[in-house]
Subunit: 214 residues, 4 copies
């Protein structure tokens, strides 16, 4: 099991490296967490939010699922990982920001477009999960009928973030906190091939790239 051994070796590097170097920080964190930011990210192995945001221990409360989805409040069942994490973040640890962190080349989005997981045997759980973005997917597909050169994958990745932000506001405790100004919502997309991070700009209503002095 070399892959698992690699994981344990990684722990040893951490223990002897950054854990040791930041021992006091970890001693403080052992007494409790108080992150100011919740990030909702994809499970994809290439877009770890800790890495992309060069985050410190204790900085980010992170929910990760396939395609960084937020189901609408009306659709969640009794036991929802997203509802529980949002509730804990907003009413328990009182984060100030909720960030939906999408990414380019998302396998979930790609599958939703291609119908890869429509196979009722092999992929029924991914299929069911991706149905939460059906409104966005259908809009993008309709647009493609009109304009064949649309990059449907990219369009749906962005539309998925917009839909997630809309769905966030359907949770009563999120809507309350946003109304009170104690929580802000943000949508961002990272493109691994280009190294670009785009933020949905409230003024322009568009995803705008973050400037970096290269």
């Amino acid at each position: 099991m070399p892959a698992f051994e690699d994981l344990i070796d990684g722990y040893r590097r951490f223990r002897l490296g950054s854990y040791r170097e930041q021992r006091e920080r970890y001693d403080q964190l052992a007494q409790g967490q108080s992150p100011k930011i919740m990030v909702i990210a994809c499970s994809d192995s290439r877009v770890d939010p800790t890495r992309v945001f060069d985050a410190s221990p204790g900085q980010l409360f992170v929910l990760r699922n396939i395609a960084n989805l937020v189901p609408p409040y009306s659709a969640i069942s009794g036991q929802s990982s997203v509802a529980a994490a949002l509730e804990y973040a907003v009413t328990g640890i009182h984060v100030h920001h909720i960030v939906i962190f999408g990414h380019a080349r998302c396998g979930g989005v790609s599958a939703a477009l291609a119908g890869d997981f429509d196979n009722p045997v092999a992929g029924k759980h991914v299929h069911a999960w991706m149905e939460f973005i059906a409104p966005a997917r259908d809009a993008v597909k309709a647009a493609c009928q009109l304009s064949p050169d649309i990059d449907a994958q990219r369009a749906l990745e962005l539309a998925n973030i917009r839909l997630g932000l809309e769905n966030l506001r359907s949770y009563p405790f999120v809507a309350d906190a946003v109304a009170k100004g104690t929580v802000k919502l943000h949508g961002v997309l990272f493109d691994i091939a280009e190294g670009v991070l785009k933020i949905l700009d409230a003024k322009t209503g568009q995803f705008e790239p973050v400037k970096v002095d290269l």
Copy 2:
């Protein structure tokens, strides 16, 4: 919004630092992911698996929810983040290992024991979510009746991992892959205060600490 600005500053450090340094690796990853390990971790800001395992980009497919839970297959509703992620990991990207990564001082476990979230208004979603570990919680509580100094929190954190491993096997495609030997299941717990990682040892049936030469 200084916290959000910090996040963007972190992205700039990443873009100018490790992204640039590992540009070839990211170019390869842009073509697709093939992680060998799926990690199921808690959303807690202090126990990021990327950091604790000093993981590389592309190494870990990560699901994060409150208390690193795996509901039993019989209990999942039609649209389950856990079922979708497991299905994608096992049948889509063919990971070799699934690791349940628990941690000490878990707020979800603590709440499950204390009943903090039994408030039907403020905490109903966390409460509902944590009900997935009811069998483990009840066994630990019964043990506490016999010996008042039991560390119920730690006992339940470990029992939750065992229960998660048992529940993993209830998913037909996981059970098949385990039976074929293509997937191995692992349970580990990290204690932030001590810096110790413990692995559930198949031989001893106990959680044993990973040796590190300090």
Copy 3:
């Protein structure tokens, strides 16, 4: 014998350092001791009470034995180190507090659980000594039958402190002093790995961590 030479070198540092700096204090102490606190601690090299409580010369009257045990009064033989030290502390130098100072990772407690010292040749004296905590050990072992992930070591370390406090009250002169309010009993546990000190709280009946502003 480098280890012994180190010890003598340590004395020279003391003689030229803190002894010289606190010469007046030592001159006063040469006339007699009047500590207000008796500490019953383990012989373990890692949990010196003088160090952990940053104590001054003359502050603590200290009994140290394996696992900071207090046998019940009914079980002591004619010549007991614990009975003698308690009697001297309470009726001779009139301490105001008796503190049972347990610690995590205690080898004596570990051995009592594992039966390591059941070997009748090599370990009979440790074995016999640790039998004083048999009631606490048996309760913890029964609890472990219900929940395999109980940290039996930690549970027994704490139960041992509770048992010691109960046993302290079995000494007539201690019971008298406690009844008169001239002596208070305390139970504390130190965890070397976490740096945390826990005190048995009379109100909650639980061991509660001492707050430290890290």
Copy 4:
């Protein structure tokens, strides 16, 4: 309870001071102790071995009782703190040195001479305990008959150390280790008023002061 509050304040100083400064050392020690020296010292508040030997965490395995006594092996009862600690030190953690650390102005020795604790009600446990040095006490008392200017207190403090060394050799596992050369026995006396440490010299057969460049 100001004295107890002082104790807790002392812990806070330790936690924020030397514990923090030596965090790595404590992390290592959390994995186990391997002291090379066992010290048998008095409970007296003025002669803490950690302080007098400026010892490091993990350096000394310490037994403390009234008058740093070692009963003869033939006299110990079934459950002896001294036998247990010696056995653990010699056969469990394999110390290289056992040091009997006596001190001037010892209340136990003083009482043994004065018969202060012969009162069968108030002091019977100290009395019983100090009977272990009866042979030394009787020899010193006989000498005083012959020479009225003998400092009986000092003479008995030293004789007690010699008797303790003799009694150490009566424990079979100590005798074996001494015969094999794996353990060395030492007797030292500290005088708090003078700041002098004397070591029983194997060559001269006398207690010789350690030289310090004042």
